[in-house]
């Protein structure tokens, strides 16, 4: 049996709007319907001009992030039944420029992701092309490798909102994912990003990034472990001279 929920979406059309505006839709829904399916219902039946990103519908592609009642969420794994009778407010991820409606410009993050060199750097590939790794060596980076680049952590990070230059949670967590990998030898190249004014030191440990991550990654931990690394890097260079 279906019920009806009021969904308010923050709309923004670059051609028509000087600033975003809220628009309300009354959406019939069933218990198993996600917020994403609610948006799809609006697009299919009520207003074809509504713009939002999605792909996998199963919390792995990281495309459908939005603020749901002010909290960064993947709309595919958030359910309308939990917000009945509404109004449920859906807004583009905070701290990013809105391109149209719920679609944000992720260009800034992609540049940062590139800067942390998120791939194994190791010129010495062992014979047989196989690296050996113990369970503990794997445990050091495994959770960080679960990041799906959905950007909920950036939407949760006020430091990124206040200073766009801050490298930010996901990029720093992915940086740590490779630095902490026993197969990798690229740490020295990545320390430049860690040590920069807008690297790990841009973080004040609000900690909300780790709360909102839908994949159980703890970016705040990656960033703050790297404050120790950065401090060591700074002082040890005097000994190396």
């Amino acid at each position: 049996m279906s019920r009806t929920i009021a969904i308010e979406v923050l709309r923004y059309g670059p051609e028509t709007d000087a600033a975003p505006r809220w628009q309300r839709y009354d959406v019939p829904f069933t218990d198993e319907m996600s917020v994403l399916e609610g948006l799809q219902y609006i697009k299919d039946h009520l207003d074809g001009s509504l713009t939002f990103r999605w792909s996998c519908r199963m919390a792995i592609c990281g495309s459908c992030g939005a603020l749901v009642n002010g909290t960064p969420k993947l709309s595919c794994e958030t359910f309308l039944r939990d917000y009945f009778p509404g109004p449920l407010r859906i807004e583009a991820l905070s701290h990013f420029p809105i391109v149209r409606d719920l679609a944000i410009d992720q260009g800034d993050f992609l540049k940062k992701l590139e800067a942390v060199k998120p791939y194994l750097i190791n010129p010495d590939v062992p014979a047989g092309n196989t690296f050996v790794q113990t369970p503990e060596e794997m445990d050091r980076y495994y959770q960080y490798s679960q990041c799906i680049n959905c950007l909920l952590c950036y939407a949760a990070c006020p430091q990124y909102g206040l200073n766009e230059k801050f490298t930010g949670p996901a990029a720093l967590a992915l940086l740590h994912r490779y630095n902490a990998d026993s197969r990798d030898a690229g740490k020295a190249q990545r320390m430049e990003v860690v040590n920069a004014e807008d690297g790990v030191w841009g973080c004040t440990l609000v900690g909300y990034c780790s709360e909102v991550c839908p994949k159980g990654v703890d970016p705040a931990r990656a960033v703050n472990q790297n404050k120790i690394e950065s401090t060591k890097d700074y002082f040890l260079r005097f000994l190396k001279k």
Partner: protein, 128 residues
């Protein structure tokens, strides 16, 4: 490409999580003042007994008691947040985060209780 950037003014009021964070940051003010008062006492101690007695007396004034009463919840909250983020600031370990937080808080409570008992119960304060 034309985009819209939302303003950040009042960001800390948008989510209870940010409010608690701001409260944690604000609690530092009370801790700083409290630490300065203690340091002041230490300095008085080096200047002789009657100077130190003066400092003790100044602690018993209504203003001082009001400050300490106001500072106590902030200090307790700050201590709690300090242990709460501890697992994130330590180097890699396989110890579960909950165990680190619980051990920190337990150690802090035990040390505070031991100090309280030593001063209050056994009167170590009044030793010559």
């Amino acid at each position: 490409m034309k985009t819209y950037r939302r303003p950040m003014a009042g960001w800390w009021k948008r989510n209870p999580y940010y409010l608690w964070y701001m409260l944690r940051e604000a609690s530092c003010v009370f801790i700083t003042v409290y630490a300065l008062i203690l340091l002041w006492g230490l300095m008085r101690l080096t200047q002789g007994e009657w100077r130190f007695e003066d400092w003790l007396e100044s602690l018993a004034t209504p203003k001082s008691i009001a400050f300490h009463a106001a500072a106590l919840p902030f200090v307790l909250y700050h201590a709690w947040t300090w242990f709460k983020v501890m697992p994130k600031t330590l180097p890699y370990s396989r110890t579960p985060a909950g165990v680190i937080v619980a051990s920190g808080i337990t150690a802090s409570v035990l040390c505070s209780a031991a100090l309280f008992v030593a001063v209050w119960w056994f009167g170590l304060w009044s030793l010559p």
